[in-house]
Structure formats: C-alpha cells, structure tokens
C-alpha cells in the first residue's frame, strides 16, 4: 500500500547509511506483492461465492420457476455461449465505443459548465439550479428532441448521453470548487495566480477529489443514459449492449438478460478500477491514504 509514498520519499535518507538502511528494512514487515494482491482478492472471491451460493440456493428451493429465475449454471452456460459468438462482442465494442465518445463529450461539457458556473456569480444565479434539474430529467424525455436535432444518427445517442452525464460532472466540479480551502486560494492569489491561472494551479488541483467523485457519478449517468439512448437507433448496422438488454427482456429470455447484466457489471467493475486507481493516486499524494501513519 505504502510503496509509492516511498518512491516519493526518496532522497531524504541521505544520512541513513547503507548499513542502517539494511537494518531498518529488516525491522519492517516486508509484505510481498503476492500477499497484497491476495488480501484484496479473497474478499471479492468470498463475496462472489456468497452471492452465487445464495442465488443457487434460491433456485434449488424452487421458489420461482426456472424460466423466471434460472440458476447460475444456466446463466453461465448462456454467457459462455454468448462469448463464443460474435454478437456479444460486437455489441460490447459498439457500446464501449459510444460510451467512450459520449463520456469524453460529457466530461468536456461538464467540466466547462461546472467551472463557468462556479466562477461567474451571474451564471450561477442564472443556471446553477438548472443543472440539478436537468440531471433529474429522464433520458426518454430527451428522445424526441434528440431525433429532431440529429435524426437517427449516433449523435442523437450522444446528445442524450451528454445531457445525462454533463450535469452530474458539473455538479461535482461546482461542489469541489466551492469547498476549496480559502487559505489555499489566498495563497495562490498571493503567489500571482489570478483568473485562469488560479483555476489551473490552485482550484482545480484542490477540487480534484470532488471532481473525480463527480466524474465517477457522471460515468454512471452516462452509461445508464447510453443504455436507454441506444434504443433510439437499434440495429442500424450494429447491435449494442443496450439493445441486447432490451431484447432479452422482450424475448422473456431470463438467461440472456442475466448474462447481459453480468457483462454490464463487469464493465462497471473495470471502470471502477480505473477510478479507484486515480483516487488512490490522489489520496497518496495528499497524504490522506494511510490514516494510522505507516
């Protein structure tokens, strides 16, 4: 865990001779990489085992008919079957590409909007509250407008995604900027950072934790909006995860639905890992990582 603080802490030990250093190293608990990985893995495996076990027990108890709630085995088979074909991968690729593009758009719009609203009082008074209001607007409400503006193109999907995610990101930025410690802002101003430079050198980095939190929430919004938005244009030359989710439901195909849900969860886990790494890095820098002092 602490291995990076150390990388940073370099050079400070000029006065510790080689021998001293050896001695110190001996005194420390040396946690190997394998141990660290195992420590973060076994709880996941345990949680998975508990979840799957409970599921299997419910299925065995035959509370619901198997076409309504298939067992883990059935779903696993379905997943394997899907993984063997091209449709799942095509759909996943399409959706991930759209998600990436839509999210990048959303981040751009959200960051700009957030910074602008946080910075200009008039803008905040004018549209500050509108941001949350927009955030609560369900995606389907935007479909007609999206079609009006972009017809049946991917842009229509991106429009819905951006309207879903950007307000959330902007809100993260605003709340981050609002809570930047005044002392640091004053320090920055005194060091000559005014206007944009104050944002670049002080406010943005100070607000980073809240911004990352907002980006994470924004991802969830953008992904959900995408799943909905993908129904605007279904099957124009490509399938998508959102369409598969809907079809699975339409066809009352429970194993397919569950396996699609698993795919979505796995994607979510992957994205969370990325955000987790970013967060970890920030916390290490800021010195809030290990509260008990190594």
């Amino acid at each position: 865990m602490a291995s990076d603080t150390l990388a940073d802490a370099a050079r400070a030990d000029a006065e510790i001779s080689g021998l001293d250093a050896l001695e110190i190293a001996g005194r420390q608990k040396t946690t190997t990489r394998a141990v660290t990985i195992w420590a973060s893995t076994w709880p996941k495996l345990a949680a998975l085992a508990i979840a799957v076990g409970a599921w299997q027990v419910v299925v065995w108890a035959e509370v619901w008919p198997s076409y309504s709630l298939p067992g883990p085995g059935t779903v696993w088979q379905e997943l394997v079957r899907q993984a063997g074909g091209a449709q799942l991968w095509d759909g996943l690729a399409t959706t991930l590409r759209r998600a990436a593009v839509g999210y990048v758009f959303s981040v751009g719009v959200g960051l700009l909007l957030g910074l602008a609203v946080a910075r200009f009082r008039v803008l905040r008074a004018a549209i500050g509250s509108m941001i949350t209001a927009l955030q609560t607007m369900p995606s389907i409400a935007w479909f007609p407008l999206a079609i009006l503006l972009f017809e049946l193109s991917e842009e229509a999907i991106f429009f819905v995604v951006v309207l879903g995610a950007a307000p959330s990101i902007a809100n993260g930025v605003i709340s981050g900027v609002d809570y930047v410690p005044p002392l640091l802002q004053r320090a920055g101003r005194n060091l000559g950072a005014r206007g944009l430079n104050l944002y670049r050198y002080v406010i943005a980095p100070a607000a980073l934790p809240a911004i990352v939190a907002g980006l994470k929430q924004g991802w969830a919004f953008s992904w959900r909006s995408l799943m909905a938005g993908e129904l605007i244009v279904v099957g124009i030359s490509q399938t998508s995860l959102g369409a598969q989710l809907t079809y699975a439901r339409e066809l009352a195909d429970a194993p397919w639905l569950l396996s699609t849900m698993i795919v979505i969860l796995v994607v979510g886990l992957g994205v969370d890992a990325a955000f987790g790494a970013a967060d970890q890095a920030i916390r290490r820098r800021w010195g809030v990582l290990d509260q008990t002092g190594q």
Binding site: W64, S68, F143, E151, V234, E250, L251, A252, D253
Partner: protein, 327 residues
Amino acid sequence: ACGADDGAAAGGSGPVTLRLGYFPNITHAPAVVGVEKGIFAEKLGSDVTLETKTFNAGPAAIEAIFSGALDATYIGPNPTVNAFSKSRGEAIRVVSGAASGGVALVVKPEITSVEQLKGKKIATPQLGNTQDVALRYWLKEKGLTATKEGGGDVKVVPQENAQTVDTFSSGAIDGAWVPEPFVSRLINAGGKVLVDERDLWPDRKFVITNLIVSTKFLKAHPDVVRKLVEGQAAANEFVNTKPDESQQAISDHIGKITGKPLDVKLIKQAWPTLEFTNDPIASSLKTGLDHAVAVGLTQPVSLDGLYDLTYLNEVLKAQGKPEVAQP
C-alpha cells in the same frame, strides 16, 4: 414450477383474486371497455375479486405472469409466443382472442408503389416482432431484400413505436409498419397507407391481441377462467354493438391512467381498421411464425398446447354462437 397453489389466488372454495393485466391502448379495447363498464366484475361474480394491472409494454406483463404476480393478461402475439417458448410450453395458455387487424404500412405520400420503397427507411416496432416479420416477409415476396442489420434494398429500422411519429415527421424514416393507434397518428402526420395488413391475410383476419392466463391459475381455478372468458365475450359484444359508447369509455379510461384522455376522434379514425373477435386466429400466429423462420429471424418453435379454447367454446356454445376451431 411449484404446485397449483398460489399466494394471492389460493385454491379451494374461498374467495379468489383474479389479477388481470392489459394495456391502456386501442388494440386492447375489449379489456379497457370491460373494466371501465364493469363487465368483468359482473361476470366474475362476488366471490372473485378482480385486480387490474395496466402495463405499457409486453415484457413487464410477461415477467409478472412468470413470477406469479399476474394471473391473466391481454397481450399481443409476440410476447405470447415468447412466453410460451421460453417457458417450454409451461407458463401460459391462450384462452381467447380479442382483436384482429389494425396494422398497416404508412409511408410518405410521394411513395405510391412497392418499387419506390427501394433505398427507403421503413420502421417497425421491434426486430423480430409480428410487424417486423410481416414487413420483411412482404418485401421478400415482392422481391426486395432487407437484412437484419438494416441493409438491403429496403432499410428496416426497428424502433419504439413512441418514436415513429417523431422520426417520420422529421424525415428520418420514410414509412413504418405499425399497429394502431400509430397508423392513425402517422396518417395525421401526413402519411398515407400503402399496405393494409388485413389484405395480406385470409379473411382479412390476423391476431393483434389475445387473452392469456397462467397455466397455474388455469389449473387451480378453471371456473374463474371460464367466467373471465365469459366476461371477454361480453365485452366484445359490447364493443361491437355500442361502438360510440365504447370509444368514449376507452378515451376516459386512458385518461384516468395516463393523465390525459385519448382524443375520441383518433379512436374513431382507427376503429374501422380493427375487428374485435373472440377468435384468437391461431392460424395467423402459426403462419407468422413460419414467415419469421422464412426470413431468418427465428428458429422454428412448436406452438402445440398453446391454445386452450375449451372455455371459450363452452361460452360461445352457450350463447349459440359458432365455436372456434381448436388448433
């Protein structure tokens, strides 16, 4: 599945609750009128409590039937087939028909012939559903190609019905093969009927809505199901004999559920394209399935045992009406 016993509709002689689903929709007119006019309640009698549930799309209704949260529902042919085949013939039975017709291909006025459809975009409600299959099969018969992915001579664009009016009027699509009331709406948005699907079927009849019950409920309470079918027949009678009153009832009922009464003019406009019949027109379902196989959208499935029309025929017989052929 577990036994015939079911929490909300416990067997035996005690009071039974019938949970009936339907959509606040013109193709579900018998259901809507039956509920609004109290026809079901009257036929079911005092020892059966009627609980109605309204849905806006098939999946939730099927999920509810599967999970035992619903005993019977009016539903379209597509979810019917899906529910039957996905439960390997276990979950449901069709006990009556409700409506036929009400589907058409509406296109931009400048399109007047099949040939002009080349290179155009035509919407259907959903990939592989009845209308989608009908369009593709029809195109195939006319010698036009249309791939699942939206390629070929005619680009078939599956999309939610709710969206077709927007896409049609914005010019994103050139036409749509859809059921009522979207046919009427597209016409109002400047569209023109190119094909009335009734013309493609024997006797101009094909199923658009039928009544299904969960097998469990059917086994546990056959008498209740008979009363339900009686109610359905009575509702159909009402709809067919008092169209004006029915149209008003539909408008009011939809208003109650959705927050805004449906324009009676629109109902009147759509009315003649529909036929309200107790016959589930099993043959059309079977043929539709064959068409789906023919255009490569599905694997053949067996529909054996889907229909249980004994109650319907009992009711019809009692009323002295022609019975329906059990497929």
